[in-house]
Symmetry: C2
Subunit: 242 residues, 2 copies
């Protein structure tokens, strides 16, 4: 299942990366950018199913996703699992590890993926010299906090179909930002993984998808998803029982 992780690595180049606006929207001079390039290494391909880092691993770096798709999940003592997020190109993962110098979740590739490794203490060093870079790091950390708190809202107060609508609209919007169709995309994760993320059982996810399809809001066939009515989904997201 988990293919070995190749060891080859090459110099990354944020300066010429087409994801820069997503990943690192910071204005730096050429010289400053070169220093950043210097610090970042492009890692080889992580095959589908392989693990970028595991809970308990020593924390040393953040990872910017160049291509592909990941999930992060925590497991507690009694084997309970919670998918804490799905990450795509231009997003940065690994920030959970800073607080205790060890990762607290697993990051697993859901398709063949490439990442850039950003050694954290060197990033901190550079941040001290380049205030815009420092500020950007702080924003990224805070954005993760805000994201997580919105998932708490979802888990704490939404019903199954609303959770799913919220999830699909979130994916849609993130694909759109990356220049892909906001209304037609492939789900990279299983119903079980969606369920874990949304606090639902896979059967409930399946039923909710079927129901959204009956309502003509989406078309879903296996992993292919088409959103037929964005505003309808939005309305569904905000629906309350009373």
């Amino acid at each position: 299942m988990h293919k070995p992780v190749p060891n080859n690595s090459l110099k990354a180049a944020c300066s010429t990366c087409n994801l820069r606006k997503l990943c690192l929207p910071v204005s730096l001079s050429n010289i400053e950018m070169a220093r950043l390039d210097d610090l970042i290494t492009r890692k080889g391909v992580y095959r589908h199913g392989s693990i970028l880092y595991r809970s308990g691993d020593k924390f040393q770096a953040l990872y910017a996703i160049r291509t592909g798709f990941f999930k992060t999940q925590i497991l507690n003592e009694d084997g309970r699992e919670q998918v804490t997020g799905f990450q795509m190109a231009g997003e940065i993962i690994g920030m959970d590890g800073i607080s205790s110098d060890a990762h607290t979740c697993d990051a697993v590739a859901l398709e063949d993926s490439e990442v850039c490794e950003i050694p954290f203490s060197r990033l901190e060093d550079l941040g001290r010299e380049l205030p815009p870079l420092q500020r950007h790091l702080h924003r990224i950390l805070s954005r993760e906090i805000v994201r997580d708190q919105n998932i708490m809202l979802l888990l704490g107060s939404m019903r199954a179909e609303e959770r799913l609508a919220t999830f699909l609209l979130n994916l849609s919007q993130r694909f759109a930002v990356r220049g892909y169709s906001p209304t037609s995309f492939q789900l990279r994760m299983t119903r079980h993984e969606i369920g874990s993320y949304l606090g639902l059982k896979l059967e409930t996810v399946s039923r909710a998808l079927s129901h959204l399809q009956e309502s003509k809001l989406i078309n879903v066939r296996n992993r292919s998803l088409e959103i037929l009515c964005l505003s309808g989904l939005q309305a569904c997201m905000g629906k309350r029982t009373r």
Copy 2:
């Protein structure tokens, strides 16, 4: 309900603060510590029910709680509310605001409370000069991420009684760290607020408390809580249906 916030403010002194080990466990020289003191202002008392900051407020500072107790909550468009945390002395709040320069939640005092205001851009400035301070800020941000992800686990995979046991043990542990009894304390929040935090209705919270009491794990009378068996609660926390 919401008392006006007093405007008087005085110089804070981390250097002599008895919460320093909790709030700022960083080794700095006297001179460095003085520079930090210089940046932090001690705000007047926030009365019970008053608001430290509101969602939408411009983000300018983090706040270290000196005394008292706060809740943070987000409200979405359709009036749904989610309590995202309860914070006590020595903890730092406001980090949600960094990402967009505006707060994304409300912070409300659940009892008369005092805070130290830490202007964020000045903290960043000082962080560039004092690496241990910078590192500490990063740890705090990351710790918040880890905390939130553990709540996601709770909300996504635990049943009512487990959620409550987890919550009570978390409070217990935080009181213990502060030198208070881990087994006997006052709840500062209503059943409704506990329910909002745990993704449950207040009636369910009340029933779960009653049931833990019947099981001789706790004694609860209104807001007074006594834990009779820490290990029993721990066992209850890890209980799964199957």
